[in-house]
Symmetry: C2
Subunit: 233 residues, 2 copies
Amino acid sequence: MKEIRASMTESLIIVHGGGSFGHHLARRYRLREGYRDRSQILGLVRTRQSMTELNKIVLDSAIENYLPCVSLQPSAFIGMRNKRIERMDLSIIVNLLDLRMIPLLFGDVAFDEQLRFSILSGDQLTSRLATELSAEQAILAVDVDGVFDSDPKRSPKAKLMQKMTAEDVRMLIQRGGKKSQSPDVTGGMVGKLSEVLPAVEKGIRVMIVNGCVPGRVSEALKGRPTTGTVIEL
Amino acid sequence: MKEIRASMTESLIIVHGGGSFGHHLARRYRLREGYRDRSQILGLVRTRQSMTELNKIVLDSAIENYLPCVSLQPSAFIGMRNKRIERMDLSIIVNLLDLRMIPLLFGDVAFDEQLRFSILSGDQLTSRLATELSAEQAILAVDVDGVFDSDPKRSPKAKLMQKMTAEDVRMLIQRGGKKSQSPDVTGGMVGKLSEVLPAVEKGIRVMIVNGCVPGRVSEALKGRPTTGTVIEL
């Protein structure tokens, strides 16, 4: 939040994922597959409860840093269909931005027309919001320096790709999809790249930076060059 | 929450107000009047933050009592116009009820087409939800035994009105409105009654019971007679 404050960004939406608050519960109760049986309801309740807790921590941190943030629960205004966003009412976000406030959204379990509920990831949400609102750029803060040609957590020779095009992304996704034994050569980045690709294809610059290294998010927000991966059409 | 659990109510929506978490902030920053100047933005942020905190407490208590509750942020799916609900997307609530879950809503600061933002009270929300979803009954838990003919906190002779019709309510509201020195003879009940009147007029039974006295809410939920005020067409 300090990074965001430091960047003095004018018009901004923050989206956070589930991290340790959401993922293990979603996995344990198989929420990703949609509704299967009644036992998942407890999982849904607990996952939502846990995400509410995480959101409160993030919100408190934002407000401590004087950011005019208000939480906006994605599942209250977004409907899904077969795991994809089917409809969302952007009027409230637009109004918050008009008031120069910062909407704070998060990965959520949302209603799904087909599966009754499904996971709405922070990545899908970010990409769709960036696209629908014609954002200048979307910044993804991750725990590695960007997109590598192999998994940087396993291979010391992994090379950071500083610039990528939509075509590079498509190729990497295809390559990742083929290696069934190790489906994601980049260490979990293929899922993220698949989500942001539609935004890149609409002309939005996507930056993937290490959120754990001080300065990178704020430089990216200011539009300055920093270590990370820039993806452009 | 124990009361609700004990009642075993099948289809239920819970709405909580702002209490000490919302009201003083809303008053301090004059949020009720809508947008006037930039200083209110901090008030909006802090009120929302505070309501998020209260909502977390209520949610945790519900889940501890094995209620399948999920929070639903009203301002994320309800739009206002001049302090009144203008539109709301009920699909998510309907879907939660279909899954036999309990939507947990609360008084909120919502976007207002005319005033930029305004207060959406728990009472207005309850009345509208009951009306739009054709609820069997709406129960308002308050800190007095029901509607009295004078303020029970000031007058020891105040008499509880056990039954009221829509016509009685209209008369009481009119009487309350006239006494400008003491605008609300019933001790703050006129605002609530004005909000629930449209629901009563649509044939919904409204019960006002003391939420501080054990047993009353659960009896009311079960549809059994208990101390309180029943309002029917």
